[in-house]
């Protein structure tokens, strides 16, 4: 043992709640291990970093097809041979969750999907046109300036510029900003006056377009 850190610093998956995502949980666990590493043992210092990096890529939708096997491989080495209890334990926990939630991992890696819409690369944010009252708070708050709108208009998030900082979600007094996964809701293409957007309009966007993604094709 070269490090006095132990696994007590980690939160438990069992306590993570129903809304949590196993990939996101593992990423944060490894992030903690990486940040706590004393830097001496290569499996802890570089291994937890590498695993964290791969998991982060997965949550951001940048996974590569062989990442599951790579993770299993690296976690196995860390679990068995790292010099300290902390990183060995972190790896063991992740390894177990990798095996017990293989389907969820596979969905993340191959389809860039997250069941609970926790992982950033798996959802988009939108302003629900039925709730938005055009107050403009979200527009002012967005660090990316990715929101269009104006006084009395339904605001629209430009998803290609949104980095999911979630600031708008926290400032919206109406809780009108929501996550969308594979099923994309019907929203206006550009800001329109509050109350003017209904089911009959927005011909191009109608019907809840289902964007299909398959495998590792973006």
């Amino acid at each position: 043992m070269i490090c006095d850190k132990d696994s007590k610093i980690f939160t438990k998956w069992e306590e993570a709640g129903k809304e949590a995502c196993v990939v996101d949980y593992c990423m944060n666990l490894m992030g903690t291990a990486k940040n706590e590493s004393c830097g001496k043992c290569v499996l802890c210092r570089e291994g937890t970093w590498q695993v964290y990096q791969i998991m982060r890529d997965i949550t951001e939708g940048k996974a590569e097809s062989e990442d599951f096997e790579l993770l299993a491989d690296l976690l196995g080495q860390i679990q068995n041979y790292a010099s300290c209890e902390m990183s060995r334990n972190a790896a063991a926990v992740c390894m177990e969750l990798l095996k017990s939630h293989e389907e969820e991992w596979d969905m993340h890696i191959r389809r860039k999907r997250c069941t609970n819409l926790v992982c950033k690369g798996t959802y988009t944010l939108y302003v629900d046109p039925d709730i938005c009252d055009g107050c403009g708070q979200c527009l002012k708050s967005c660090p990316q300036e990715a929101i269009d709108g104006g006084d009395g208009l339904i605001h629209v998030i430009r998803t290609d510029q949104c980095n999911k900082s979630m600031v708008c979600v926290s400032v919206c007094p109406k809780a009108a900003i929501k996550k969308a996964g594979a099923v994309k809701p019907k929203i206006p293409g550009e800001p329109v006056p509050v109350g003017s957007f209904g089911a009959s309009e927005g011909s191009g966007e109608g019907g809840g377009r289902r964007r299909r993604r398959r495998g590792d094709v973006e």
Binding site: K34, C38, Q50
Partner: protein, 741 residues
């Protein structure tokens, strides 16, 4: 962690002898007591049990208590390793040296495992290989790929490991680390921390071996990195700049700044620049260390292993050693010459005398023509070798330039005389006032060899000024006459042409003789002057006027005498094969009236073809590689071979001549003596408050100054004591040193 067995090992030995002293690093001559100690160690080695084990099918033997990696490497079985270093506590952190043991479920790190009788080891099992590959891949994930542009290219342990294991930059994500940008280089140590793989060797060597501990594994923003406390530059820490971190770094992360070491020569020599630059290769770091400890007699013994005339050198040595001193890159070089002088002047016990080697009388005679530093040095070593040595000296006393060149205010004659007496104790016969003009004169006297060390005692002027003016002199004659007291009337103004040390000798002598106006005319600008800074500042203090960047273009005559000099300012000058080329400053002509002109523009030997040997460049002795002249059995050394250099160069040349003459006369040519028994120097140097700020002390008032100045030494030689890591391609790993059943 030192294993229990290892501790036992040390306790059992009970003798403070480092592991390397036992056989490999012993000097040939061994003091009786030490010898006993070594015998004891050797006996215990035999008594101490060995264990037998099997590695990859080879049966080997290893000392009990040894770690498995060391045992394998010693036996010629290579196991990849990176964080392990033979001088450091094994940590098992790089995971490269993992092996499988029969009967053990898990891979163990061989560096952390102590050998056991009957152990069966597999270093190449699938699991061990997999762990090794993963570990190396992980290290490479954050390591740059620009190998060819790294200064460590082809001398890099990491690169060698990549080749051995066939691991390239791989399937893993590239990792960019931010904190590697924090460390800054200084004038001695270049840091490219983005090449760091955090093996921690530098941190351990600094802490464990040196006891300095300025290098740390730091942490910032969740990223560990090697740095200093609070990330301050090394110069602001208690770093001793010993270079141990550079020595153990397996990659290009911590390197020597290029240019601080000589590039040619053996590693152990070039790593110690002062010793390298000293023409006699005196063990300078050792005697500086001994002076620091107040062991002046021991220090002198070290000095005398390589040098005759140490006291004289303490006064006037050209100290090229100091120009190589690494401390120059921190503030100023160590005052090595002053340290030497202090040691010699405080050598009460003269312990060096006990170690002097004297050979049996050989029944052969050697004649030495010229009793200067080179001649007397050769005479000394040849006499000790058992030859009958006779020195022919044209002056009333020997010493050459020590007696008749260097002014007495710089080097009192008494010191030279005393040092000559010490040499003469070996039975050298000196024929004074004997000016040998030809080999013929020695022919029938039964000499088996002759050494010519007549020096370069004739002035050399610019060709245009080679004329017999009544009030012009050559520096070499001026200095000799000043010492003899035979100088003619010099007048009110003396001008010296040439700004080297000899020029200052003349000018300062003239000033001390009471001459009102003394000029030095010098082609170099002030900063480029060849004389020592100390000479220049003393000269200026004494009222000498230095006319820099000027050349004499014409000499005004009155009858047979010089009346005035036409000077011209010059921007630059160079010597080409057609002579001197000047770039004059327009309108800078001036007239300098002078009563005496001294040419300090160089010296040459005063040797004529009639002497009976072949000459080169008019008057120099022509010699082959063994310093032998065209005449068989006639050798030459010192200034007569290479022109004026320095006393220490002459001593080195005299030593070489003694070696070659001994060989020529059938001897072994070995004149080396161990006058001081080496012990392994203390590797744990600890810290010294404000070490990098300690300022040079030029002149010592007392022992306190000597200690303080010696303490400034960076002890470059300690680095050579660290063991080298052998690469897998090393011939050592070609064959396994196994044992039979």
């Amino acid at each position: 962690m030192v294993s229990r067995a290892n501790k036992l090992h040390q306790v059992t030995l009970g003798v403070k002898v480092g592991r390397n002293n036992i056989s490999e690093r012993r000097e040939d001559r061994v003091h009786a007591n030490t010898f006993t100690a070594i015998c004891t160690v050797r006996c215990m080695d035999i008594i101490m049990s060995k264990v037998r084990l099997e590695i990859d099918g080879y049966k080997i033997e290893a000392d009990e208590g040894k770690n498995l990696l060391r045992a394998a490497l010693d036996a010629g079985i290579y196991i990849p390793h990176l964080c392990y270093h033979p001088d450091l506590t094994p940590l098992g952190n790089c995971k490269l040296c993992g092996v499988e043991l029969q009967g053990e479920p898990n891979i163990v790190q061989s560096c952390e495992t102590i050998v056991k009788e009957g152990m069966v080891v597999n270093t190449k099992s699938e699991a061990a290989n997999k762990l090794r590959m993963t570990a190396l891949e992980l290290m490479l994930a954050s390591h740059p790929k620009d190998c060819t542009s790294c200064d460590k290219y082809l001398n890099c342990e990491l690169q060698a490991l990549m080749q051995y294991m066939g691991v390239a930059h791989s399937r893993l994500r590239e990792v960019e680390k931010e904190n590697t940008k924090i460390a800054v280089s200084d004038r001695l140590i270049k840091k490219e921390m983005y090449r760091c793989i955090q093996c921690g060797r530098c941190v351990r060597v600094c802490e464990e071996v040196r006891g300095v501990g300025v290098l740390k594994i730091n942490k910032k923003d969740g990223e560990t990195y090697i740095s200093t406390k609070d990330d301050v530059p090394l110069i602001d820490t208690e770093c001793r700049f010993c270079g141990a971190c550079v020595e153990v770094c397996p990659t290009g992360a911590i390197q020597d700044v290029k240019g601080i070491f000589p590039t040619e020569g053996s590693r152990n020599m070039t790593l110690v620049p002062c010793k390298y630059h000293c023409p006699a290769h005196t063990d300078i770091p050792l005697y500086v260390r001994l002076v620091k400890e107040g062991k002046y007699s021991d220090a002198v013994a070290v000095i005398r292993e390589k040098l005759t005339f140490p006291h004289s050198l303490g006064h006037i040595c050209s100290h090229v050693c100091e120009s190589g001193c690494k401390r120059t890159y921190i503030n100023e070089p160590i005052a090595i010459r002053e340290i030497k002088k202090f040691a010699v002047e405080n050598d009460k016990d003269q312990t060096w005398r006990q170690g002097v080697l004297r050979g049996e009388a050989k029944g052969k005679k050697v004649a030495i023509v010229g009793g200067g530093a080179a001649g007397m040095t050769a005479a000394y070593y040849l006499a000790k070798k058992g030859y009958g040595v006779e020195v022919y000296e044209r002056q009333p006393v020997p010493g050459g330039m020590l007696s008749f060149g260097i002014p007495k205010y710089r080097l009192p004659q008494q010191i030279v005389d005393e040092e000559i007496e010490i040499l003469k104790e070996e039975g050298i016969k000196v024929h004074a006032n004997s000016n040998i003009q030809s080999l013929e004169e020695l022919k029938d006297k039964g000499y088996d060899a002759v050494l010519l060390t007549v020096g370069a005692g004739k002035g050399k002027r610019p060709p245009a000024f080679d004329k017999g003016w009544s009030n012009a002199m050559d520096a070499v004659d001026f200095c000799r006459k000043a010492i003899e007291g035979t100088l003619p009337e010099l007048g009110k103004t003396v001008t010296v042409y040439g700004g080297g040390n000899v020029g200052f000798d003349c000018a300062r002598t003239a000033k001390k003789l009471g001459i009102k106006q003394v000029f030095i005319v010098c082609m170099e600008a002030r900063e480029q002057m060849l004389a020592d800074q100390e000479e220049i500042s003393c000269g200026l203090e004494e009222g000498i006027e230095i006319l820099n960047s000027r050349s004499i273009v014409k000499i005004e005559e009155e009858g047979n005498a010089i009346s005035a000099l036409s000077l011209i300012g010059i921007k630059s000058f160079k010597f080409t094969k057609d002579g001197l080329e000047l770039e004059p400053v327009e309108g800078s002509e001036e007239i300098l009236k002078t009563d005496t002109l001294v040419f300090a523009t160089g010296q040459q030997p005063d040797l004529k073809a009639s002497f009976g040997i072949e000459l080169v460049r008019n008057s120099f002795a022509k010699v082959d590689q063994s310093l032998q002249t065209s005449e068989k059995g006639v050798f030459a050394a010192g200034d007569v071979v290479y022109g004026t250099k320095s006393v220490v160069e002459a001593i080195a040349s005299g030593r070489q001549a003694a070696i070659n003459i001994d060989k020529y006369l059938g001897g072994d040519g070995n004149i080396e003596e161990t006058l001081y028994e080496r012990r392994k120097p203390e590797a744990n140097i600890g810290t010294v408050e404000l070490f990098s700020e300690l300022e040079r002390i030029d002149r010592f008032k007392d022992a306190g100054d000597a200690t303080a100045e010696s303490l400034r030494c960076l002890q470059c030689d300690l680095r050579t004591e660290l063991q080298k890591v052998k690469y897998w391609v090393d011939p050592h790993f070609k064959t396994v040193k196994g044992v039979s059943e």
